[in-house]
Symmetry: C2
Subunit: 368 residues, 2 copies
């Protein structure tokens, strides 16, 4: 696992405009592309980026608000058009996601030409909307399977309220719940540590022949040579490289559950929808201010905070500001009151953040 990069395809909240798309973040790695959220227009943003839609292998949906999900049905149809996929596409998100995906694909009779699986995260009472009594969550008894669908899992949280989504030798994905107006999750992608480098010249001097013994040492086992000499890994293997942790948050006015899984993370992508002075309105809508988000990042001791999901009332820095317009710079400035300049970035559509190897330099220069 070498490359690990975030591409911000949509950084706005609520609704898309010509200058900024709604939520969609791509994580590129050696095995493919994982998408986090898929607001309306995500497929066109992908086309505008250098990313190849055919490489998308997993999609994670933080919550079912339209600005995070309405682009998913269209994206599935389009990805389908030029996919030579053999492995099924796996989609993860809160209970209700299957109903959303399958209803849209069935009613539009979308002929996706690859298999897909929807894994649903069971929600907990704390996540229920406040108005769930007057307006019950729509949970149909059963949703017919799409012809291309394979059955997914219902993922329940463990006793510590951590949802375990996925694990392979290189990457693990967990989720915790965050507080919002509807069930919302934050995803934590953890890279496995890599063993250190072998000191080839030292090995040669010690008379260790290249081959299986090298692999044993790299795997942490001691070996004995033909002359009876013992070689321990610590003598010839450099320090192991810790894995990187990438956290992509759903909309949230309280992400304290992240303390369980994201301390010291390499990068935290978190919303900050409205400026500090609009705190009341912001929290009422289940969102965070820059102060809240920066304080969280500081408490978690993350190496880098990327602020996203900003209100369309703030104009991009790139766009020309008319009189009365407010720049997104306000949000960054408010975060900078709490975090140093090399620990926070404001995402713009199409910005790319290369996740640095640990221990990271912690420099904002990874953002291009």
């Amino acid at each position: 696992m070498n490359t690990l990069a975030l591409t911000f395809l949509g950084t706005a909240s609520a609704y898309p405009t010509p200058s900024r798309c709604v939520s969609c973040t791509a994580l590129s790695h050696d095995e493919g592309i994982w998408l986090f959220d898929c607001g309306e227009g995500a497929q066109v943003q992908l086309m505008k980026s250098p990313l190849k839609p055919g490489k998308i292998s997993k999609i994670f949906i933080t919550h079912l608000h339209g600005d995070h999900s309405f682009g998913l049905p269209g994206l599935l149809c389009t990805v389908s058009q030029n996919s030579l996929r053999t492995e099924p596409l796996e989609i993860y998100g809160p209970v209700g996601l299957r109903h959303f995906v399958c209803t849209n694909l069935a009613l539009s009779r979308a002929d996706v030409c690859f298999d897909f699986i929807v894994h649903e995260l069971e929600t907990i009472p704390e996540q229920q909307p406040l108005d769930a009594e007057e307006w019950p969550l729509q949970v149909p008894s059963s949703v017919p399977f799409h012809p291309c669908e394979r059955e997914g899992r219902l993922i329940r949280p463990d006793d510590n309220l951590i949802w375990h989504l996925y694990s392979d030798p290189k990457l693990t994905v967990k989720a915790v719940w965050v507080k919002h107006r509807v069930p919302s999750f934050t995803f934590v992608v953890q890279e496995s540590p890599k063993s250190g480098k072998l000191d080839a010249s030292k090995l040669k001097a010690m008379g260790v022949p290249p081959g299986p013994l090298y692999a044993k040492l790299k795997a942490g086992q001691a070996i004995s040579l033909e002359n009876g000499q013992m070689v321990s890994p610590s003598e010839v293997v450099g320090p192991s490289i810790p894995g990187r942790t990438v956290v992509v948050s759903g909309d949230s006015c309280d992400s304290s559950e992240l303390n369980k899984v994201a301390r010291g993370a390499t990068v935290l992508v978190h919303e900050a929808t409205l400026e500090n002075s609009l705190w009341e309105q912001c929290v009422q809508n289940g969102h965070s201010t820059p102060e809240m988000t920066a304080t969280l990042a500081k408490e978690l001791d993350v190496k880098m905070l990327v602020i996203t999901h900003v209100s369309q009332r703030y104009k991009t820095r790139a766009a020309e500001l008319k009189e009365g317009d407010r720049s997104v710079q306000i949000l960054l400035d408010e975060a900078l009151e709490i975090l140093p300049a090399d620990k926070v970035i404001l995402a713009e559509d199409f910005a790319v953040y290369t996740v640095p190897q640990q221990p990271p330099g912690g420099s904002a220069s990874n953002m291009t």
Copy 2:
């Protein structure tokens, strides 16, 4: 009713790209804006146009393919943000549309702040997909009402297979079915004829006093003056102005039902997805070639044909053509083999066609 103008917000088939959006056509008139189809990205296209989303009063969906419907949930949420609407928004489309709208709004818990009504057009056996047996149409027994929803009608066709959707003193909307891979409709908007102008100087010379007598004459009634003289409308009222007819078609490989309702129409907006040489593939997918569409327009004797819903394989004329790229001009050229140059236009995103008063000049110069 004076203004009647079509704005083409999305003119591509299948999926959106950065250069062309999927189906959405706006009809502006004195009472508001009516949308026909609502592909993904329609709300952003609206923002890019001079049209005011808050003025949308009706939305007609020809069929439930994603390139005609996936933008509707997002559009409803956004229109909601700055709507001072008092009348409910009315949405018309094939059976299944309510399920589509309500499931998307319920799962995303979209808090639209105006009332809306979904009227569904009952489909007929001829419209069923060929694969309906292996993959049944998803028709849930009941779909919960959205808190802002008012009950709509199930619109059945009359004995002549014409669906009657709406009628007010100025405009009437009907639909007929067209052949496609899924149930698809074409909408016919018929403007009422306007009575002719009163000849004010002649009335004065005849001694008719302005007031109620003028109204009677304009309404087609004869009057008698105090001196016993009879005045018939034909003496003082000019010829009535025929109403205009605007036809917006759904995807179709056979629109012959239009013979019942669209003969001599002022303007026909119809798809032509692929060029003539790809006829087989085109018809297999339920689409028309320029030859098919132009022949239809000629048979119907429409005053103007607007070709839309073109495959993304054809690049816009505006865009720079790279080697190997094919221009949409091909599609127009093929239609011009059948229709004269002043009777056919190729729609591009954001083009506006002002529907001329009848009898029309029939000039393409109405397109800007």
